[in-house]
Chain length 229, copies 2
DNA sequence: TAATGTGAAACACTTCACAGCG
DNA sequence: CGCTGTGAAGTGTTTCACATTA
């Protein structure tokens, strides 16, 4: 009945549930059980029921969940029942790729402002959005009421960009720079870090040909921590 | 002295430690305490000591850790003391961006094969690597001894690509497609999913202007689950 | 003396198992 | 009767706190 403390890990799973439910909607599926939904996603039925229970009662006993109602409920919980303006900082290779990505739009986000440091890029346009000077962030972001920033600058300038985003009133940051950024507690960060992901995957690879030349005993590979089934 | 069961979450933190240590090396820092390292990254000193303890004794009591030794040790644990060939599947907007990304190279990975379905793209070259027909994955990947795949195809073909990667002997997959893929337990997957990341961030945004029109009580925002300090 | 490595405690998350409801 | 929602149990992860050692 209340939400005294919803674990962040639950919040991070909600978009996956939502996406799956929307696909089911498209397929004309009207009702789904926690068992079914879990099987599609690779999590247990119990986890799904527990996750939803943080937000109220979405289901019907003996029946399951109404796909549309559940999807709309999750969208509302995540505040996705509106469009959020986002600021993109950085217009190099990566920044441009993000600016051109059509995939946030259909999911409640719009890149409404783009900032670059390189004067060559300032004035460029993407889809009607003009690339502005990074130095103007401080004025433009509060003025536009933007609360989300995407960092797509090199690692060594990511912290200073983060600081300026926080000063500008941003509350959430999606960080593509390969560096950890430190922010005050009222600001949330998610890292997009493919290199780290690859490097951690490497641990699990067989090395038959290679000698196990390590000083450390890593011969016994751990089991999976990922959701099973 | 042994590594009976190393949690995946520990493995996922190692690349971040490694990157931070390499930067310290570049700065000429030779020694670091768990306290210092933690302060840079945003995790507690106790966590850092616990994480390293899974792999042996890296530190010197009263002194801290030798930066070079520790970095090399982590690299060896992660099997990053060699270069891994990677197969990239998909050569649309996203696939091309990944193919051109110079950032895996310096980090023990090389995109050694690129596969596309669209005949228009087959034969294209990136940095000497020719884009091949997806249909040949099954032969080429085992032949080249590739054990890591990067999926950069649309969501609706991601599962079939994953299946074929697994059939081809791949043990690790970096999935950029906005869909959960199911793989057997001996294969590891990491999702790169900026849209889900943004959607989960949205939950934490203030909505002063907006009415709290939700049926569900989400008025009390949870505290942070992210590392503190 | 300063900082590691680690039992033990605390905390967080997941799963079990079943009462209760449609 | 089938499936949700949830106490309680079980597991996993983090932090405490301190003996230990260079």
């Amino acid at each position: 009945m209340s939400s005294p403390e919803i674990p962040d890990i639950v919040i991070r799973r909600l978009p996956v549930y939502l996406r799956t439910l929307r696909r089911m909607q498209d397929l004309g599926i009207e009702s789904v059980s926690s068992e079914d939904l879990g099987a599609h996603i690779g999590v247990t039925a119990a986890q799904i029921r527990r996750d939803f229970s943080y937000f109220g009662r979405f289901g019907k006993q003996g029946k399951g969940y109404d796909v549309q109602t559940l999807a709309d409920g999750i969208a509302r919980v995540l505040k996705l029942d509106r469009c959020w303006d986002v600021a993109l900082i950085g217009f190099g290779q990566l920044g441009r790729a993000i600016a051109h990505y059509r995939g946030f739009e259909s999911n409640s986000f719009r890149i409404a402002a783009i900032f670059a440091r390189n004067p060559d890029h300032i004035g460029d346009q993407v889809d009607g959005v003009v690339v502005m000077d990074e130095a103007t962030m401080h004025e433009v972001i509060p003025e536009m009421g933007i609360r989300i920033g995407i960092i797509a600058v090199p690692a060594d300038s990511s912290q200073s960009v983060a600081d300026r985003l926080v000063d500008s009133g941003v509350q959430a940051i999606l960080n593509y720079a390969p560096a950890i950024i430190r922010v005050p507690p009222h600001v949330r960060v998610r890292e997009i870090d493919p290199t780290s992901a690859l490097q951690s995957l490497s641990f699990y690879l067989d090395t038959e040909g290679q000698p196990p030349d390590s000083v450390f005993d890593t011969s016994m590979l751990p089991g999976m921590t990922e959701p099973r089934r």
